[in-house]
């Protein structure tokens, strides 16, 4: 017996219909529908790599019930990078600063950075560290990730990214 339900949502600007199980998390729903830029790490809310924007807010998709997203809007790292200038710049800054080693945490870190910068986050290392503190990285030691977000925050403050 299958009790799958259909949900209508907007993913990366496109209206889509997904078939999901009642208890399925948003992470699996997205990955089952080819959004492989959303990474599956711990699937328990610890690592943050599955983060997406839900109605413009960065949340952990593994902690989000997919069925509850019916009628809502989701942006992933890849989709946002192709459509949003700030996100594209932050992705570039990650490359420039060497913030990507194995790369597994990167999509989540980008989402945390975007959330921070979009809400007026300043070039402040302590505040950036707190903003990404729901995300685990086992390679970089976090410094270079903070560097990248700091760099873009500075650019925004200088008006270079108006």
């Amino acid at each position: 017996m299958s009790n799958k339900i259909k949900i209508n949502l907007k993913v990366n600007g496109e209206n889509v219909t997904y078939e999901v199980e009642p208890q399925e998390n948003l992470l699996r729903a997205l990955r089952n529908n080819f959004n492989w830029d959303v990474k599956c790490g711990c699937e328990a809310g610890e690592c943050g790599t599955c983060s997406v924007l839900l109605d413009g807010k960065e949340v952990k998709s593994c902690l989000t019930l997919a069925a509850a997203c019916d009628g809502h809007e989701i942006w992933t790292d890849k989709g946002l990078g192709l459509n949003d200038r700030l996100t594209a710049r932050l992705q570039e800054a990650f490359v420039e600063c060497g913030s990507v080693q194995c790369g597994f945490c990167t999509p989540g870190m980008i989402m945390a950075g975007v959330e921070y910068l979009k809400n007026g986050g300043k070039a402040d290392r302590k505040a950036i560290k707190y903003a990404i503190s729901g995300h685990l990285c086992r390679c970089t030691g976090y410094i270079k990730i903070v560097d990248a977000i700091y760099k873009v925050a500075e650019e925004i403050e200088e008006g270079a990214l108006a």
Partner: protein
């Protein structure tokens, strides 16, 4: 194949209707930060998941006539930014600011944290010293339960299966403080937390009234009644803090072995945390 059902409840009325219909099989899902983890760990194997995430009327923080009201679906991030909470309930403000991590706090709700009733739920000790009232609603009617009577033991509350928490109310209490000890700054379950409410006589400095609540150091969040008795009628000096630190040992019952810290470690740190929480409540700083 799954044994789950899904019901969307965009309003309070539709949520209590669904709760009445599904009874013991019903599981409310707001942010999902507890429920989704429990489903993945197969601690929840079946049931009807009632989505209450979109009930906008339960996401408000208001202040009228000396009383604060917080909707059960208010996310922790909102509480951590709220000027009302900062001014009228500094202990809850502090707890929201050390809660989980910023990403999780955009999903996690205060109603979920209290309803989950973990022994180390970070918003519970602050609500206990604020003498908060838990407002419950079902098709049978409304019910009010003091938070200090709401939690029976770890994970169990007096909430009936057909009831949902709608909001919390408490009086404005600027002289409260909260301190959390975890292994890390973010995304950490508390080893121990202490919330305190202190009222002192301005001239003599003698404590007139005091409430202390502790999380993570007993099978459920507990009031530090023995420590409270030491503070009342005394000045906030080193002698009082030492005696309170001894008295509070009779309020707590940490388990050993435990996953995050040993019982002896918790017994050693609690007096320090009580002192700091009380200083935060009385003076706004603890060093």
């Amino acid at each position: 194949m799954s044994d789950f059902e899904f019901v969307n409840a965009p309003t309070v009325d539709s949520a209590i209707e669904a709760l009445a219909q599904w009874g013991n099989k019903a599981c409310l899902v707001a942010g999902g930060t507890n429920v989704m983890v429990d489903i993945r760990a197969k601690k929840i194997k079946d049931g009807t998941l009632i989505n209450i995430r979109d009930i906008e009327s339960l996401k408000k923080i208001t202040y009228t006539d000396g009383k604060v009201s917080i909707g059960a679906l208010t996310i922790i991030e909102e509480i951590a930014k709220s000027e009302i909470i900062k001014q009228h309930a500094p202990c809850l403000f502090a707890a929201a600011n050390v809660f989980a991590d910023p990403t999780t706090n955009r999903s996690a709700t205060i109603g979920g944290n209290v309803g989950n009733a973990s022994a180390s739920g970070d918003t519970i000790p602050p609500l206990m010293v604020l003498n908060a009232i838990v407002h419950l609603k079902s098709k049978r009617g409304d019910r009010e339960v003091p938070i200090n009577e709401f939690i029976i033991k770890n994970g169990v509350t007096t909430r009936e299966p057909d009831e949902m928490i709608t909001h919390f109310t408490f009086e404005s209490q600027p002289n409260t403080g909260f301190i959390k000890l975890g292994a890390r700054r973010s995304m950490t379950i508390s080893i121990a937390t202490v919330a305190a409410y202190i009222e002192t006589d301005k001239q003599s400095g003698i404590v007139k009234d005091c409430r202390i609540a502790l999380g993570g150091v007993a099978p459920k969040p507990v009031r530090g009644t023995n420590a409270e008795k030491v503070f009342i009628g005394n000045k906030l000096d080193e002698d009082t803090f030492t005696k309170a630190g001894e008295a509070v040992q009779n309020d707590i019952s940490p388990r050993s072995p435990s996953v995050r810290a040993t019982a002896s470690y918790r017994r050693s740190v609690v007096p320090v945390l009580v002192k700091r929480a009380v200083k935060l409540a009385a003076f706004g700083e603890c060093e």
